[in-house]
C-alpha cells in the first residue's frame, strides 16, 4: 500500500477507535481517548508533515503535545478522587 494511503488508513482506524470509545465513561476511556489523540497527532506530524525524516524534530513537537495530554488526563483522574 502507498505510504500516504497507509497513514490515512491508520488515522481512520484511530478515529473509529475514538468513536467507539465516545459512549464509554470512566478514567480508562478518557486516558485511551487522549492516547488515541496523541497517536493521530504523531501520525500527522510524522508522515503528513514529514517530521519523521529530520532527526529530533518529531520528538520536539510530539513531546510537548504528549506532556500536555498527560496533564489533561492526570487532571481528569485526580478530579475523580
Amino acid at each position: 500500500m502507498d505510504p500516504l494511503t497507509r497513514t490515512w488508513a491508520l488515522l481512520i482506524a484511530l478515529t473509529a477507535a475514538t468513536t467507539a470509545l465516545a459512549g464509554v465513561s470512566g478514567p480508562l476511556a478518557v486516558i485511551l481517548v487522549l492516547l488515541l489523540a496523541f497517536l493521530k497527532a504523531r501520525l500527522i506530524l510524522g508522515r503528513f508533515l514529514h517530521l519523521e525524516a529530520p532527526p529530533g524534530w518529531l520528538a520536539a513537537f510530539t513531546l510537548p503535545v504528549g506532556f500536555w495530554l498527560c496533564l489533561i488526563g492526570a487532571g481528569y483522574v485526580l478530579t475523580l478522587r
Binding site: L4, W8, T15, P55
Partner: protein
C-alpha cells in the same frame, strides 16, 4: 537537530507551533474550568451531537490525504495531478464547513448559545476559531492550485495538515472526555 533540516519554510513551522500553542492554551483553560464543574460539563457535552464531529474527522483526515498526495505530485512535476489533489482537499474543507454549519444550526435551534454554559462558550470559541482556519485553508489550497508549483503547494499542504492536527487535539476536550 538543525533548523535547516525542517521540511518547507521555517515561517510555516513557527506558524504551526504558534497555532498549536494557542489552541492548547484554549483547551487547557476549558479543561481547568471543566475539572471544577465536571457534572455541569458532562451535562452540557451530552447535548452535542458527536456523530457530526466523527464525520468531520473522517472528512478532514481524508482531505489531508489529498493534500499530501498533491504535494508529492507537485514535487514529481505532475502539476495537473497536484491541482486535482488540492481541489479535492479544498472540497473536503467545504464539506467540513457544511457539516459544521448544520451542527451549529441544530445547536442553536436546541437553545444552545455561547452564554448557555462555560462549556458552550469554549465549544463555540474553539470550534469556531478552528472553522475560521478551515476557511483560510480552503482559500490557501485554491490559491496554490492555480499554478501548482512545488513550494507553494507544500506550504498549502502544511497549513492544511496543521488544521487537521489542531482538530484531532481539540476533539477530546469538546466532544469526548466529560
Amino acid at each position: 537537530m538543525k533548523v535547516d533540516d525542517l521540511p518547507g519554510e521555517l515561517i510555516l513551522w513557527i506558524l504551526i507551533a504558534s497555532e498549536l500553542a494557542v489552541f492548547m492554551a484554549g483547551v487547557s483553560v476549558m479543561v481547568v474550568l471543566g475539572l471544577m464543574d465536571p457534572e455541569g460539563f458532562a451535562q452540557a457535552q451530552a447535548q452535542l451531537d458527536g456523530r457530526a464531529a466523527a464525520l468531520n474527522t473522517v472528512v478532514l483526515v481524508t482531505s489531508g490525504l489529498f493534500a499530501a498526495r498533491a504535494e508529492r505530485a507537485a514535487f514529481a512535476g505532475q502539476a495537473a495531478k497536484a491541482r486535482r489533489g488540492l481541489l479535492l482537499a479544498a472540497l473536503g474543507g467545504v464539506i467540513f464547513l457544511i457539516v459544521k454549519g448544520v451542527e451549529y444550526a441544530r445547536d442553536i435551534q436546541a437553545g444552545i448559545g455561547i452564554e448557555s454554559h462555560p462549556f458552550f462558550t469554549f465549544y463555540y470559541l474553539l470550534s469556531g476559531f478552528h472553522a475560521a482556519h478551515v476557511v483560510a485553508g480552503v482559500v490557501v489550497l485554491l490559491l496554490v492550485a492555480c499554478r501548482a508549483q512545488p513550494e507553494p503547494v507544500q506550504a498549502g499542504a502544511m497549513f492544511w495538515h496543521m488544521v487537521d492536527l489542531v482538530w484531532v487535539l481539540i476533539l477530546p476536550a469538546i466532544w469526548l472526555i466529560w
